[in-house]
């Protein structure tokens, strides 16, 4: 992990963004960042600042995502898209090893290739928290995941403080944003006020300061701290969603038999999209395969989900046959049992599960429905309020 060091603020002209990318590429990093593809802002390799979606934003709501023109030249004027950094740190499919038959035994060959050195450009505050959540899962337990560690330890992180929130964002509720507090090498704030367009860059590590030395920059503008505050305050005021997290663990534990689970199960497709786009969901399956000759075997790890039947299959059958039990498992793990397991929430408020659910199931709405039914019950001192579809 990078060493923390006292933070310093510097000014970076917009032309400096490309110089920053080139400085990283000269150091051998594969620069990955937001770019336009197939009607969305995805994370992919970018070779220059021209690959960034300047002037574009996104319009997000439950089950819908559309690109739109901003009317200015903002490089980071949008919220998070369908991809997360998970796909680079914890790849969707990894060959763990391969083996060849050798007489009556078999010889294991290394199956993994040397991981790329990534520089992530444009990591949002909620995403820094998501990476920290996966660090706890993959690095800080009794079993360290070698695949994740090899990618994570080398990764150079350029965070971006959000100046624009999306329609399904709720990082303010989850206390994970919109300002990047820790876990970056450099953090950018894009200042767009009147005719002014520049970046304020904050160094988070010595490694970050070293890269910055290769990039033209100068002393911070006089209003630097205030300009950052104004920018993130604008995003904080734009949150498309909110979630009341008070007592949320006990709230869900008290309501495992709530009729709302039937209501959401009627809509849930059990398609697993929410878990695939979630930046903290870490479940995978390990599958062995052999070829036709019977001379070679391989072990693969692939993203899996608590929404698939095979994932909770044990001897004799599946322990979560109904959509209701699978949705409840996912949501209570994310918001409640995760706290027992890892000491933090599994939700960072990025809103991806809401946007990318094909039928727009909204985790904030599900929590609200359960919470409001309790207060309604107390208030009316009678039956739970009828669960209508908001």
């Amino acid at each position: 992990m990078p060493d923390p060091r006292p933070r310093t603020l510097r000014a970076l002209p917009v032309e400096g963004l490309d110089a920053l990318l080139q400085a990283l590429r000269r150091r051998g990093y594969r620069t990955v960042g937001p770019t336009l593809r197939d009607g969305a802002i995805v994370y992919d390799e970018i070779t220059s600042a021209a690959d960034l979606p300047a002037g574009w934003t996104d319009v997000q709501d439950g089950g819908t995502y559309r690109l739109a023109r901003r009317g200015d030249g903002a490089y980071f004027g949008y919220a998070v898209g369908p991809h997360s950094w998970k796909r680079f740190l914890f790849p969707a499919a990894t060959r763990l090893w391969r083996a060849r038959r050798a007489g009556d035994a078999f010889a294991v060959e290394t199956g993994q290739e040397e991981p790329p050195r990534y520089a992530f450009v444009g990591v949002r505050a909620c995403e820094l928290h998501a990476i920290a959540v996966q660090d706890r899962v993959f690095l800080q337990g009794p079993h360290v995941d070698a695949t994740y560690r090899a990618r994570r330890e080398q990764a150079f992180i350029i965070a971006v403080n959000c100046g624009q929130a999306g329609g399904t964002c709720f990082c303010v509720s989850m206390k994970t944003g919109p300002r990047a507090a820790a876990g970056f090498d450099l953090a950018l704030t894009e200042i767009l006020e009147g005719g002014r367009h520049e970046f304020i860059v904050e160094t988070g590590t010595e490694r970050g300061a070293d890269v910055l030395r290769d990039v033209p920059h100068w002393g911070p503008p006089a209003d630097a701290p205030d300009a950052i505050d104004r920018t993130v305050a604008r995003a904080a005021a734009q949150m498309g969603r909110t979630m009341d997290t008070a007592d949320i663990k006990e709230l869900l534990y008290r309501n495992l038999g709530h009729p709302r689970w039937d209501h959401v199960a009627a809509r849930c497709l059990t398609c697993a999209n929410c878990t695939m786009v979630c930046p903290t969901c870490f479940c995978s399956s390990v599958e062995d395969t052999t070829d036709l000759t019977g001379e070679h075997a391989e072990r693969w790890r692939r993203w899996d989900s608590c929404f698939t039947m095979d994932f909770s299959y044990i001897h004799g059958g599946n322990v979560r046959n109904s959509a209701k039990s699978r949705y409840r498992q996912w949501m209570t793990h994310k918001l409640a049992t995760w706290i027992d397991q890892f000491g933090t929430s599994g939700c960072v408020g990025c809103g991806r599960c809401i946007t990318w659910c094909p039928v727009g199931i909204d985790i904030t709405e599900e929590v609200r429905a359960i919470r409001e039914s309790e207060t309604a019950t107390v208030r009316q001192d009678s039956r739970p309020k009828e669960q209508g579809d908001a």
Partner: protein, 295 residues
């Protein structure tokens, strides 16, 4: 599931001897179908030599007229049952086969020809054939499993040749095949495809469709056509509700389910519910069917 495969034989030299002495006999059978699935076997160009090294291709008329009599260790069965003659023939195939695998939408669900199941087949005969009296066919097209016990069903129209090789490799190793029954969405997300329904508003059957094609259509910005049939726990009522919200007319939603897997239970019921709704006006598509949350 258990795969009573050749790999169960004694290990080491004895196993090698056993393999050399007698390779498992493979047969490929055609019923009512287009031949596309058995063609997938011939399309395994890079693996065909390895395959013939491990099995005796004893009966495969699309590849060779040299037919060896049974019994067969593995039978791959393509096509549905549409005639009284085939209803008898599949029983003989079953008796001659130790392990019977159905391949494709016709063999596993009845195929596109099962559209007849929901109409009067005599009307088709009159409309299509100059001399309908020459045609001897059953009123319904049915999957192989409606007639005999099936040991493994491989879905798809056509099947994925990599999945076919996986089923055969698993059989030879005596292990269960790694064929997953979850949605196409998982394949889209693993390959990083942007969801066409969420980002374009394109109606897509991916959330209710069985994986296996590697999510080809969404990768080309098309919605999924459901070629691989229903996934393990399809919620067609909810998906139909979303299509309705996207502006697809009721009859068109029903037609989307009525393609090559029209006779697969989940898709058949989805289409019937939609058609009943269409006919009865404000009928019910099922739980959640009419209430997809507006974006």
């Amino acid at each position: 599931m258990t795969m009573p495969g050749a790999g169960r034989r004694a290990p080491g030299t004895a196993r090698e001897n056993a393999r050399a002495a007698r390779r498992p006999a493979l047969a490929v059978w055609k019923f009512a179908s287009c031949d596309g699935c058995q063609l997938s076997l011939l399309s395994c160009e890079d693996e065909l030599l390895a395959l013939t090294g491990r099995v005796d291709i004893a009966y495969f008329l699309e590849a060779s007229r040299a037919a060896v009599g049974g019994p067969y260790d593995v039978s791959l069965v393509e096509g549905s049952i549409t005639t009284a003659h085939d209803a008898e023939r599949i029983k003989r195939v079953r008796r001659a086969s130790r392990f019977l695998v159905t391949i494709g939408a016709c063999a596993t669900a009845g195929g596109i020809q099962a559209l007849r199941n929901f109409k009067n087949v005599k009307d088709f005969l009159q409309a299509v054939y100059a001399k309908p009296e020459y045609i001897d066919t059953l009123a319904a097209s049915t999957p192989i499993s409606a007639h005999v016990k099936v040991d493994f069903e491989l879905q798809g129209c056509p099947i994925n040749k990599a999945q076919l090789l996986e089923v055969l490799s698993a059989y030879l190793a005596g292990r269960p095949p790694g064929i997953r029954n979850h949605s196409v969405c998982v394949e889209c997300k693993r390959r990083g495809t942007v969801c066409v329904m969420v980002a374009q508003g394109t109606p897509c059957l991916g959330p209710v469709t069985h994986a296996g094609c590697e999510a080809i259509c969404p990768a080309y910005r098309r919605g999924c056509y459901g070629c691989y049939g229903p996934m393990e726990s399809p919620n067609t009522a909810s998906l139909s509700g979303r299509w309705r919200y996207l502006g697809v007319p009721e009859a068109a939603i029903a037609r989307a389910y009525r393609t090559v897997n029209t006779n697969a239970e989940a898709f058949r019921k989805a289409a019937e519910a939609l058609e009943a709704r269409g006919a009865g006006g404000a009928g019910e598509a099922g739980p959640g069917g009419g209430e997809s949350r507006a974006g």
